[in-house]
Point group: C2
Amino acid sequence: MHGMARFFVSPEELSGSFLTLTGENAAHCKVLRIKRGDTITLCDGGGHECQCAVSDISPGQVSLVVTGRETSQTEARLMVRIYMAFPKSDKLEHVIQKATELGACEIIGFPSARCVSLPDAKSLERKLDRWRKIASSAAEQSGRGRIPTVRVLPSFQEAVADAAQAELSIIFYENEHQRTLSSLLKQAELLQSVSILTGPEGGLTPQEVQQARDAGLYSCSLGRRILRCETAPLCALSAILYAAGEF
Amino acid sequence: MHGMARFFVSPEELSGSFLTLTGENAAHCKVLRIKRGDTITLCDGGGHECQCAVSDISPGQVSLVVTGRETSQTEARLMVRIYMAFPKSDKLEHVIQKATELGACEIIGFPSARCVSLPDAKSLERKLDRWRKIASSAAEQSGRGRIPTVRVLPSFQEAVADAAQAELSIIFYENEHQRTLSSLLKQAELLQSVSILTGPEGGLTPQEVQQARDAGLYSCSLGRRILRCETAPLCALSAILYAAGEF
């Protein structure tokens, strides 16, 4: 268990043969009852990892000796970006936590026509801060080498333009009855990047879906059952990573 | 929106050309602001559906005229049963809701060695009742034709024996580094039934995994990231239904 404990630090804090953990990380070591001689992993959140042995513990500081360095082995080869129209209450937090565990590389919130809950400019900074903490903590717990980026875009139009930059961009729409996800993923093992865009509780408008298609996104459904707005991106992410050969 | 409103009734309540909704269903119609002339669907939860036109609304009673009957079109062809070791607090509720949306046919709770939270016999009946209501309500909202069965088994051994009856039975184990899910699902489109078994927060013990293997379950991982106990079954269910050609 302790061998798997994992802490994110800044890239500078990873240089040298003798490292220290302070602040929240040191407090977290105490919670995990980490003791002298235990092995832990430090990670810069950008894919670089250090295996360390705990050499000393004093109040607020844990001293470490580096025993090995490597590139993170737990990141998905396929970069999946999740574009999610702002849902109500804590649903976005749920999606950020689960999408991080599952292996998404980015989670991007944006407003759409039927959003019932839009974060105002004032609370947005505080919320972004909270969302990034959730991503960081979920990345630690799931053993990821990178912390997914969490960001927001100011309009549906910008979300679509951003999503369209991936090799394959998909908008999920319950009224799309022709195209299946599997038809889009026939070559999934060769793909480098996929964007998926999903709507809020009330769904996307036909105009929004058309706007996305015009920008080059493929519309497709997630089957014959109606998924909640927080379930759709996680179902799609699971299927895409499966199709890409992740498990 | 109203055309998609969906109510579960007992099979007897579906017979005849003139039907009525009472009690909770009538109250729910009021919440949904259903009015005379609207079209709704009644479903017996066993795959039989009735399309109805609302002919009259009085306090506590909604009168309906049957306009069509059919077999539900929204059920997954592949029957997936989810065996989940009792997790803490409300995580099982979360899994029941999401697994129902995604299309599971059964959700089965059971105790395992590392479960930190076991429902006692006294509270179990109350909890089962609550879990079944969650499944029923999620089935309604997602447009399913069947309400998944929710049940519990008294031991790990019985859960394994029950799971082993499916055509393909899988136990997810983070220390299984050889077999992938995709290697088990090469013929997924031909399968009729799959069982998936997952552990509690602390994971399954090596002994439990061996016991399951001895009973005929295949052990396999869900990739290189460590998933929370409530994320694993939903990730697996999404991937399995995708592999089976559902979307």
